[in-house]
């Protein structure tokens, strides 16, 4: 018999996929003669997604000085580099936003994901890294593997959550015991299937790894950001238990203990606005 974990990985195609418009916009972006106006024209065929992108562009995530009210202008303001990420982030959240998850509320799931993204971005800024939004996306997608687990194995995940609450084993260990796979493995597989850049697959796949390795900074920042989001009790992807902090990831970020307070403060200041931009009408 095939191990259940492998069977679950084969069923990922049963889940909703990224919308066609994401792929069309990505093609338009990658075309050598492409322009942001051409990308905007593609996106504008989907009014809901365009409106959402505009809201996110105007949120605390980008901190644009003036409010932008046209999509082409917003894309120009945030820059070509960032356009792919904002389309990806808004598409992923929109695809899953209104699906009932059962054991955990979808809103709470995204609140945890957004808070982790915001904390990861705050860490990047604290470290003086360029492209802090890359860290946001890594954090936003880190627990995406939990969605297939809840949607494809609702009963088993319900039991795992129950066991987690009663016996205080961590949820990841229970996933392995009861499903033969983990949200990290499933998350990396899902993002790979979606052909998302490798940096996000690694953050989703390895943000709980404790071993010594040469992690990307995005992965280590997401590991620390996840711990911050859990301690602050902003949303939940199933558990509010604060995970173990890996010394390897901590050292990899180069953060000092004194950096935590400003990172926490920036996270608290920004998260609510970004949550509204992604989730509310």
């Amino acid at each position: 018999m095939q191990p259940s974990g492998e069977r679950l990985l084969e069923r990922l195609s049963e889940l909703p996929s990224l919308p066609a418009i994401y792929h069309q916009a990505r093609d338009a972006l990658e075309r050598p003669d492409g322009s942001l106006d051409a990308v905007a024209s593609v996106l504008e065929t989907d009014t809901a997604l365009s409106a959402r992108i505009l809201r996110v562009a105007n949120s605390a995530l980008y901190g644009l000085i003036a409010k932008v009210d046209s999509l082409p202008r917003a894309l120009t303001m945030i820059g070509t580099e960032e356009v792919h990420r904002i389309i990806l982030a808004t598409s992923v959240v929109s695809v899953f936003r209104d699906i009932p998850l059962g054991a955990v509320s979808m809103r709470s799931f995204w609140e945890h994901s957004i808070a982790t993204g915001v904390a990861s971005r705050a860490i990047a800024r604290r470290l003086g890294q360029t492209g802090a939004e890359r860290f946001y996306l890594a954090g936003l997608l880190h627990d995406i593997g939990r969605l297939p687990l809840y949607l494809l194995e609702p009963e088993t995940m319900g039991q795992a959550l129950q066991a987690h609450r009663e016996h205080r084993a961590d949820l990841q260990t229970l996933e392995t015991q009861m499903l033969g796979t983990t949200h990290t493995e499933v998350g990396a597989a899902l993002l790979t299937q979606w052909q998302i850049p490798a940096v996000y697959c690694e953050a989703a796949g390895r943000h709980h790894d404790l071993g010594e390795d040469d992690y990307r900074l995005e992965t280590s920042a997401t590991h620390v950001a996840d711990i911050i989001a859990n301690s602050l009790r902003i949303g939940t992807s199933g558990t509010r238990a604060v995970p173990v902090l890996s010394e390897t990831h901590w050292r990899r970020t180069g953060l000092e203990v004194d950096d935590l307070r400003p990172v926490v403060e920036l996270t608290l200041r920004t998260t609510q606005d970004v949550v509204s931009a992604f989730l509310e009408l």
Partner: protein
């Protein structure tokens, strides 16, 4: 009895009893430290007690006690939340302290 006493009609809820109070049979009616409420005032009336050693320090004292209780409850909540983490790591310890401080401010 050396402690200053107050007449029954001056005793208000929120005051604190400074010494044990006995009923006419010599049994303890209320212990020292009891926070006076409407019920204890009715009990005093019932037993025909006309004065009792109470202090006004009741309000701040109970506020301190409430703070102490909520501090304990919040620490317990955070201890649970951090039970699976490595509290001995200085960064986790710092995060715990930040969360406790924040929780106390919110209360």
């Amino acid at each position: 009895m050396g402690l200053p006493t107050k007449k029954l009609d001056q005793i208000q809820p929120g005051m604190v009893l400074e010494a044990d109070l006995y009923d006419p049979n010599g049994l303890v009616l209320l212990r020292a430290g009891t926070l006076i409420n409407e019920r204890s005032i009715r009990a005093l009336k019932c037993w025909g007690i006309t004065e009792a050693p109470v202090s006004l320090s009741g309000a701040p004292d109970t506020a301190t006690a409430a703070r102490h209780r909520s501090h304990e409850a919040l620490s317990e909540m955070l201890d649970n939340q951090f039970a699976l983490s490595n509290r001995e790591h200085p960064a986790v310890q710092a995060l715990y302290e930040i969360c406790l401080e924040r929780a106390l401010q919110q209360h």
